[in-house]
């Protein structure tokens, strides 16, 4: 009584409203290049993008970033999406999610909130986020539950927190979340830079999977439902990336660039158009970049004659490009790839020569005339007025005198 789409139209849009974010997660998959943050689409442009996406067949929009709550026009964007029949999910770190903000979003028709946590306990979580954010996240979760919205708690797993799976399950239960998404880090952007610091060992990955299985057995049909995204590089069968290139989903980056997946912009040799250059429909159906890896004709051996080619689409194009320099190569995660030794080498290397993570640097949040990049933490004893987004002060240069209300700081897990 339900069917898979056969019409070649996308169902989901990942709208990356901004790369600005007050957190400094070393596992962030946003681009490292600060220039990527320039030229954010304006409100009217996002409304047009949503209209075009709806006409193209999109039914669901994930409002993500960076931290989408740093955009003051977010309730307007949600209202527009709701008006044209889109299901809206907010992907947030919850720092700026005050009761008033949430009320405005709920009134605008917001359907679902996905809230990230960095770990189960404040000390560890705040160390990963680079700011004291955990307590406010718990408050944000309570607000979402009280508002009657479905709540997904999301944690990106890596070496420092992958042992916390049982504690994260307990936290999600305590928060009365509907769903817990435990997603191993995807190694793009900052996470790629930090791969040696973040990659869990094989033993850690196995233990996490066992913990997920145990929790699922215990919870049965009850809540939270646990969604687990396994550690890709520890595997030898690639993931069916995005259910195929240009098949079900698309991403619009903050500057309007239209991508088959959020990490695809790095692939050199593909010209990705922006929504300022062409209508979405044209980009989706006719742009060379979207057609480049559709179907199976582009494949070489070993994928071309492999029985799994329709199942995993040859794996991830971005990962193939990152590791081999050739986006048309078989994903090296696959044990049949001639480059598979690269992947086992990366995992071994990260275990033998671990590195210190480099915290993400972020452009200023822009709220309350904050113009300082979120760099090092506050000098001890500093009592500078702060902005509600990046409280405590984003840096000694932050001059904003924002009211310190009962609201919050923020973070989100892109994707």
């Amino acid at each position: 009584m339900s069917a898979a789409p056969q019409d070649g139209r996308p169902l989901g849009l990942l709208a990356e409203l901004t790369y600005r974010c007050p957190l400094r997660c070393a596992y962030c998959s946003n681009p490292v290049d600060p220039g990527a943050s320039a030229g954010e689409l304006a409100f009217a442009e996002w409304c047009r993008v949503l209209d075009e996406a709806r006409a193209l067949g999109v039914l669901q929009v994930h409002l993500s970033g960076g931290e989408p709550l740093v955009r003051r026009d977010l309730p307007g964007i949600v209202a527009h999406a709701h008006r044209i029949g889109l299901y809206t999910s907010l992907i947030t770190g919850g720092q700026a999610l005050s009761a008033a903000r949430l009320a405005a979003l709920t009134a605008a028709g917001l359907d679902h909130v996905q809230l990230s946590v960095q770990d189960a306990r404040a000390a560890e979580a705040d160390a990963i986020a680079g700011r004291p954010v955990h307590a406010r996240k718990l408050a944000a979760a309570a607000l979402v539950v009280r508002a009657g919205l479905p709540l997904t708690v999301n944690a990106v797993l890596h070496r420092a927190n992958i042992g916390s799976v049982p504690a994260l399950v307990a936290l999600a239960e305590h928060l009365r979340a509907d769903r817990l998404e435990l997603a191993n880090a995807q190694y793009y952007g900052w996470a790629l830079l930090n791969r040696r610091a973040l990659l869990p060992t094989r033993e850690q990955a196995d233990a996490a999977e066992a913990a997920v299985r145990a929790a699922r057995r215990r919870l049965g049909d009850g809540r939270p439902e646990i969604v687990y995204v396994p550690a890709d590089l520890h595997d030898d069968v690639p993931k069916p990336c995005m259910q195929g290139w240009g098949a079900r989903q698309l991403t619009v980056a903050p500057d309007g660039k239209v991508l088959p997946c959020p990490a695809a912009a790095q692939i050199s040799g593909l010209a990705f158009l922006t929504v300022r250059q062409a209508p979405l429909e044209e980009i989706w159906f006719r742009s060379p970049a979207f057609n480049r890896f559709r179907g199976t004709d582009w494949m070489r051996e070993p994928c071309r004659s492999c029985p799994r080619r329709e199942l995993d689409h040859g794996g991830c194009r971005c990962q193939a490009f990152q590791l081999t320099g050739d986006a048309a190569a078989t994903d090296p995660v696959c044990r049949l790839s001639p480059h598979h030794a690269l992947v086992t080498g990366i995992v071994r290397d990260a275990g033998e020569r671990p590195a210190e993570p480099v915290p993400r640097r972020s452009p200023p949040c822009g709220l309350n005339s904050c113009r300082a990049p979120h760099s090092s933490s506050r000098p001890a004893g500093s009592r500078r007025p702060t902005c509600p987004c990046c409280r405590p002060p984003c840096s000694a240069r932050c001059r904003s005198a924002a009211p310190v209300s009962g609201s919050a700081t923020s973070s989100s897990v892109p994707g």
Binding site: M1, S2, A3, A4, P5, D7, R9, L11, G12, R54, A55, L56, G57, L59, Q60, G85, Y87, S89, D111, H112, Q114, V145, G148, L149, P150, T152, R176, D178, R179, D221, R223, E225, V227
Partner: protein, 96 residues
């Protein structure tokens, strides 16, 4: 819609039934994604309003469509429940 003494089904929190004019099809929108529905699927879900059990749903469907088997409805309903898209309407629990 009155319906029997079995489990009465309703949509879970955050799950919406809609119609997609682009594909001209019923759709079930939920936090994890979208389900495209055929006509009977959409009709079953429209009846998952907390008042009908599987027998009630089947009876209501039989008035509109020929040859609706209770087993098919049951199976469909179970599948949706496993995916946390519908749940028993239990007035003693608030859902949270």
């Amino acid at each position: 819609m009155a319906g029997g003494g079995g489990v009465r089904w309703r949509l879970c929190r955050g799950v919406r039934l809609g119609h997609d004019p682009v594909r001209d099809t019923g759709v079930l929108l939920h936090p994890e994604g979208v389900l495209l529905l055929n006509e009977t699927g959409a009709a079953v879900l429209a009846l998952c309003d907390g008042t009908a059990d599987v027998d009630g749903i089947t009876a209501a469907l039989s008035r509109r469509y020929a040859a609706v088997a209770a087993e098919d409805v049951e199976q469909f309903v179970r599948r949706l429940a496993r995916r946390h898209l519908i749940e028993p309407d239990d007035p003693t629990e608030t859902g949270r």
